[in-house]
């Protein structure tokens, strides 16, 4: 089996203009959405309280929302989470409410709405672990159970936001330095521009659909950044090799050749990584969903950007054979070089 049977080099660079126009428009749209809609930041970044409850029957979102809003906690978000019985409630930080007690107050309100009373249940699991948890006792068993609560103070949120930005900057700086050391500054610039374009596009998706941007998503974004730079590295490696081997080729032909000879590998590796990520998307449940989603978008755009965008930028930055192939001995001097003269 061989998917790619390419007879001759595909002239990617001939279409560089169009390809870059496409990415520029996507990029501009992403920036526009990030600017106008903003990211829907998770509780981790904004600070606040989050409560996840599971109802015994299908949950009635509107009723739950009414119950929580009756507590007067400000702007409360109520939504389904994963299954139809799971409900996620988000509450912002409000000065006058004691955050630490918020989750238990909400659970109490939801429980009494189901004609139940909260109590502390202590038992030993069949595996033999001691557990004590708040429970809602009603006539017909437990109508609602508390699955998870999270409270993040506003100071922690701000700090996480800051650290996230630092991590992004450190990654960008690290990768640029490595590429510059390994290749040439033109490649470093091209590589980072192409991949930042991926990052912005992922963020654009999150802004457009108002998907929740959590710490895990940030981790996914950074992982994608590191991962898709690979792709550029592979192509740059080939460009350098082709410059060495085929002296008669022009720069754009060399780049075309490099892309063509790596395209099979590019698609297959991204495909296999994508298989894993999609598996996470399907089987990972609601907690991993956005994480996997960010990876999926990132990998798809990663292929596009490193193949088409990075190479085109390198070309426009005017990379030359001499940049990569050191002409130290006379033998290596390009005979077509107009500046070539007498060698002492």
């Amino acid at each position: 089996m061989e998917f790619f049977r390419i007879r001759r080099d595909i002239r990617f660079m001939r279409h560089a203009m169009v390809l870059n126009a496409i990415s520029f428009i996507t990029f501009a749209a992403a920036v526009f959405f990030i600017a106008t809609r903003g990211l829907h930041l998770s509780v981790e970044f904004t600070g606040g309280t989050l409560v996840e409850v599971e109802y015994a029957q299908t949950a009635d979102i509107n009723r739950t929302r009414a119950n929580v809003e009756a507590l007067g906690l400000g702007e409360v978000q109520v939504q389904k989470f994963g299954t139809s019985r799971d409900v996620l409630i988000r509450m912002p930080v409000r000065g006058e409410v004691k955050q630490a007690e918020l989750s238990s107050r909400v659970f109490e309100a939801l429980c009494s709405a189901e004609q139940g009373r909260t109590s502390i249940k202590q038992y030993t699991t069949p595996q033999g672990e001691q557990v004590s948890r708040p429970a809602c006792d009603a006539a017909g068993g437990e109508p609602v159970t508390l699955k998870r609560t999270e409270f993040v103070g506003p100071s922690v949120g701000a700090e996480l936001y800051e650290n996230g930005a630092y991590a992004l900057l450190a990654t960008i700086a690290g990768i640029m330095m490595y590429l510059a050391f390994r290749f040439e500054w033109k490649f470093a610039v091209a590589g980072i521009v192409a991949n930042l374009h991926d990052v912005i596009i992922i963020l654009g998706f999150f802004a457009f659909f108002q998907w929740e941007f959590s710490l895990a998503v940030l981790a996914a974004v950074l992982a994608v950044l590191g991962y898709s730079v690979n792709e550029s590295v592979v192509i740059f490696d080939r460009v350098r090799e082709s410059f060495r081997k085929y002296r008669k080729m022009s720069t754009s032909e060399t780049i075309d050749h490099a892309i063509t000879s790596t395209i099979s590998r590019t698609v297959i590796t991204h495909g296999s990584t994508l298989m894993m990520v999609v598996s996470m998307l399907v089987f990972g449940g609601p907690t991993l969903f956005y994480f996997a989603l960010a990876l999926t978008i990132g990998i798809l755009f990663g292929i596009y950007s490193s193949v088409f965008v990075a190479a085109a930028i390198v070309m426009w930055l005017g990379v030359k054979r001499e940049d990569l192939v050191k002409t130290t001995t006379g033998r290596d001097v390009d005979p077509d070089d107009p500046n070539a003269g007498a060698v002492v």
């Binding site: 061989e2 595996q127 033999g128 001691q130 948890r133 690290g174 490595y178 992982a223 990584t273």
Partner: protein, 630 residues
């Protein structure tokens, strides 16, 4: 040319073996166990407890799988939960004769079901994070400003005493924020004072200034002294938290420092945040009262009469009862520090107490009036009091520095000072992050994480085997080896595995296959170029390595940035991500090459390799197609 020297195979074999051994405990699951740990700061659990528990179990007719000391607790593993609960009851009855004043915490717990020889090799299953096992997590911020203020307050008192002792006349000593301000009328006194204070108070840096007619001397805590104060405050808070959390009877609580001024508390199995918060936030109180030595009291002690009016009966640590007046002379609020040490003259072990300004004044008056009598220091927790120590007052003590000595060993001195300090938090704490994860959600997360890895792996394996045939099988085996190594490494390091960590495992596997695809594609390309099979394998691996190395470095940079700046869930992701990149370098390059060498390397005249179809373009290639490949 495709042969490995024997030592390379040996390294691979050893790695595989070690990987297998350390991964193994993860498959045995968990068995019910009873864990016994100390409930008191002064009681240490050691190997002597093991035979005692064994005896108790034999007496109750229960046969444990084993009883052993692990860290600071003794664990006994049982076959099923029924035996576990029976054993818990028997052990509790035997070790804690007084139910309302337990010396040991007897808790139910889970331990790995892996055989003893694995535990002896320190092969333990991966340590699961709270999001996988359920529990509660608190992040607490220690209010360092108040710790510094407290320190400045006590220094102010010390300075006052010092100046009085040396007869230096000042126009006022007061604390202003974290600085101490001294006022003087004459420049000469200021200089003497400054010289004295620079000598006696090494923690403060002094600066002179004038405010109209008055001369001022301002002392600021030196940065290193401030750091020490903060460090001590944090340590004391952690100790106090340990003591309090012990009461919850949680099997494996985690209480650790995070950053400079934060404490993490994780309590697996507990979801009852209200009770946990109640206990963590509680303040134990320390009280100083006088001992009632009257004849009625003596009679009451012997059991010949009622406890005199206005007095209570308490038990001193170590067992002897005491009658103590109800009137509280001083509380723990006035105690700023308690440290073990030695008596300056007799070299006996002693406990040094430091009182604040108000405390020292009260204490001086108290000691002047009660020379020859006994005082008692009581620690009240959960509404129950215990006499920590009851020394005899020998002379008037001023200046707020109190020394308790006599009939004490060094360990006792350390224990008493710990108890005196542990009663209170050095600085108030505030919960800034709180998470609870229900037990069912934890189990759900494990299943979901596991399924993502499993199905993703299967999909990749099937594809690789179909597309690259035998080389695909090698790649799949290398990927499996990578997974094995990663799990072994995580088990070995006992790094906390969280759901993002599992996601990182999946992602690492997805990225690791990249290296094998690279290699396989290169080998195919070499074959397409007309290289002989052995040559193609060798060149393919060699050429691919540079690229693999590059790509792993860039991924590692992102991983390290996450590790450096990430916290909480992201950290768990980053740790696994970075480890996974390292293991993938070994597995996809060295291990898969080893397999290929074993399979093909020995055949001298290799006609072809099974790497799927290698398609060759028709001979008249396009104008840009090079005619000759290197």
């Amino acid at each position: 040319m495709n042969r490995y020297p024997w030592w390379k195979y040996a390294i691979l074999a050893i790695t595989l073996l070690v990987g297998l051994v350390y991964t193994l405990p993860n498959f045995f699951g968990e068995a019910p166990a009873v864990q016994v740990s100390s409930a008191k700061a002064t009681l240490k659990v050691d190997a002597a407890l093991v035979p005692r528990i064994e005896q108790v179990l034999v007496g109750a007719g229960i046969k444990p799988d084993f009883v052993q000391l692990e860290g600071s607790s003794v664990r006994a593993r049982f076959f099923d939960t029924d035996t576990q609960i029976k054993a818990k009851d028997a052990i509790t009855k035997a070790l804690n004769p007084e139910a309302d004043n337990p010396s040991y915490i007897v808790a139910l717990n889970l331990v790995s079901r892996s055989p003893a020889w694995l535990s002896r090799a320190h092969a333990m299953p991966m340590y699961l994070g709270l999001d996988l096992r359920g529990g509660v997590h608190f992040l607490m911020q220690v209010d360092m400003k108040s710790a510094l203020t407290k320190r400045a307050e006590s220094l102010t008192g010390d300075i006052r005493t010092l100046l009085r002792e040396k007869n230096i006349r000042h126009a006022g000593v007061r604390r202003d924020g974290n600085t101490v301000e001294l006022r003087f009328r004459e420049a000469a006194t200021l200089t003497t004072a400054r010289n004295l204070l620079s000598d006696q108070m090494p923690d403060l840096a002094w600066a002179e200034s004038s405010d109209g007619a008055e001369l001022k001397l301002v002392g600021t805590l030196k940065p290193e002294a401030a750091r020490r104060v903060q460090d001590q405050a944090l340590k004391q808070n952690i100790t106090t938290l340990h003591n309090r959390v012990n009461e919850l009877g949680v099997a494996e609580p985690v209480i650790a420092q995070q950053g400079v001024d934060r404490v993490v508390v994780q309590l697996p199995g507990v979801q009852d945040t209200a009770k946990a918060k109640d206990i963590i936030g509680r303040t134990a109180t320390l009280e100083l009262r006088m001992v009632n030595d009257s004849t009625e009291a003596q009679e009451a002690l012997r059991g010949n009469g009622p406890v005199p009016f206005g007095s209570d009966r308490f038990v001193e640590r170590g067992g002897a009862p005491l009658i103590v007046f109800r009137q509280v002379q001083l509380t723990g609020e006035n105690l700023t520090d308690a440290q073990p040490g030695f008596d300056g003259q007799t070299q006996e072990p002693a406990v040094h107490l430091t009182l604040d300004a108000k405390g020292s004044r009260v204490f001086r008056d108290l000691t002047r009036e009660n020379i020859g009598k006994r005082m008692a220091i009581l620690l009240f927790e959960k509404g129950k009091g215990e006499v920590v120590t009851a020394p005899v007052i020998r002379s008037e003590i001023g200046g707020g520095r109190v020394q308790i000595s006599g009939r004490m060993t060094t360990t006792e001195a350390a224990d008493v000072s710990l108890l005196l300090r542990a009663g209170s938090l050095a600085a108030p704490m505030e919960i800034i992050e709180e998470r609870t994860i229900g037990p069912s959600l934890g189990a759900e997360n494990i299943t979901k994480g596991f399924n993502s890895v499993l199905y993703g792996f299967i999909a990749i394996a099937v594809f690789m085997c179909l597309y690259y045939m035998v080389f695909g099988v090698f790649s799949t085996l290398a990927l499996a080896f990578n997974l094995l190594l990663l799990i072994a490494l995580l088990s070995m390091l006992q790094a906390t595995l969280t759901l993002p960590g599992i996601a990182a495992i999946a992602l690492v596997l997805g990225m690791a296959i990249d290296s094998n695809v690279l290699i396989n594609e290169r080998v195919r390309e070499e074959l397409r170029g007309g290289a002989a099979p052995q040559q193609a394998i060798s060149v393919g691996y060699e050429r691919a390595f540079g690229t693999i190395f590059d790509s792993n470095i860039t991924t590692l940079i992102a991983g390290l940035a996450l590790l450096a700046f990430g916290s909480g869930p992201v950290r768990g992701f980053a740790v696994v991500h970075c480890l996974g990149i390292l293991t993938s370098m070994l597995s996809s390059v060295m291990f898969s090459r080893g397999l290929v060498n074993l399979w093909y390397g020995r055949q001298k005249r290799l006609k072809g390799v099974s790497i799927g179809q290698v398609w060759k373009p028709a001979p008249p290639a396009g104008p840009t197609r090079p005619a000759v490949k290197a």
